[in-house]
Symmetry: C2
Subunit: 250 residues, 2 copies
């Protein structure tokens, strides 16, 4: 419980390598997580090689932890392995569709989180890289992913050099709803976000970016509409090319 | 580590209620998980009420644990709360697109898995309900979810009545790839799945369903093409109606 409650994203790592036994132990614990139909429609690509990392780092916008952490894990949704098994058994798998794409994203994420907890339990630190989705086609190329294998998220893994402060969370009672979703009034919304807005780090973001408030930092700087549409379009094209989102049926 | 490695899906529960303090502790631990941009684009709907459960159970095909477990959690991707905050701050959020749908599925799943581990740490058992995606529109109606709130997965939660055997997993080395994805030969595929095919439970599935092999049980009985396309279509319609998958840009 303390482990879950003390989770921090680690962005600065020691150069200490991760022992192979430790990595295997973490991954073995990872795949014990629940998954749809116990079909394990996922693969994990382990990157340790410096040259390979140098190819991947720009695809994560050169965030320094990609090169600094001794291990990078790219967690992928994988219907290639299962489909090959089906073909070898004279039957055809039917997973190139939206339902299984979302199932696969769920299972890959659950796997990723089990890996994180196992890693933290062994004193390692982790950082999720959301940029994986931004450049999924390019990452696929570097990692030689065949059709049917989609990078969902990545984790940097290493021994923490700096352990930052615990980040803020919204009050729990603003996230949970008993029996039915109670929609938020404007008053309630202002109350929920008040503490977040008043954090020194939030005020700094607002000033540094010359915005009026924190919400504008999110919508205009960190996650602009143009960026969101550009990366959605890239992802859409990849998923359509691989048949997960149908073209003709829409 | 032992906790992760001994994970079982629990399908039979004692009638013992879950103390509110315990549930809050679990959810508090849950939301400490990493999430994209610390925006917490998720909500959790807690169902304890028997009448509400009776409405939801058929949407999960009357799997007995929905009524039997004292608590059902429906984990939702939620851009409604954040968007309302943006509107209250004179700006518009830009999350109704494919990139943020997948981000949201990832974050909701990571939250769900943290909740599971916290629950298991407190001697509770859990079961993921993949059927959530099958009937997401109908579940949304029962739970009064507004536009921008999409049920991703559900968890039944309760004290285990029966703890089943550990389920099988493919050999770890068939899931992980060092530096690059090494595609599978037919021979390798047969080898990877051999133990799974030889399980007594697998043989029983094959015989009971009058199929030639285990792969056919998956493709023709458990997850048929017709079912996958039907449920993908329902999900597609819901996501298009809410703007996550564009109609005109394809």
């Amino acid at each position: 419980m303390e482990l879950l409650k003390s989770h921090r994203t680690i962005r600065k790592y020691k150069s200490t390598a991760i022992n192979d036994d430790v990595l295997i132990e973490i991954l073995e614990s990872g795949i014990r997580a629940s998954n749809t139909g116990n079909m394990q429609l996922y693969s994990v690509i382990i990157t340790k090689d410096k040259e390979k990392k140098a190819l991947i780092a720009p695809l994560h916008y050169n965030q320094p932890m990609v090169l600094q952490a001794p291990v990078l894990l790219t967690i992928c949704f994988d219907i290639n392995r299962f489909s090959k098994w089906c073909l070898a058994n004279d039957t055809k798998s039917n997973f190139s569709n939206l339902l299984w794409l979302i199932n696969g994203v769920i299972d890959s994420s659950i796997l990723a989180q089990n890996i994180c907890i196992a890693a933290e339990n062994l004193k390692l630190g982790i950082c999720y890289l959301g940029t994986t989705l931004y450049n999924a086609p390019e990452i696929s190329k570097v990692l030689h992913l065949p059709v049917g294998v989609i990078p969902i998220t990545s984790l940097t893994l290493g021994y923490p050099e700096v352990i930052p402060e615990l980040t803020d969370r919204l009050p729990l009672n603003s996230i949970i709803h008993l029996e039915e979703y109670k929609d938020y009034t404007d008053e309630k919304i202002m109350q929920i976000y008040q503490d977040k807005e008043n954090l020194e780090s939030s005020r700094k973001f607002v000033t540094e970016n010359s915005k009026e408030n924190l919400a504008q930092v999110f919508t205009e700087v960190r996650y602009s509409k143009a960026d969101n549409l550009y990366f959605s379009g890239k992802l859409m094209k990849m998923l359509m090319d691989q048949g997960f989102i149908p073209i003709e049926e829409i």
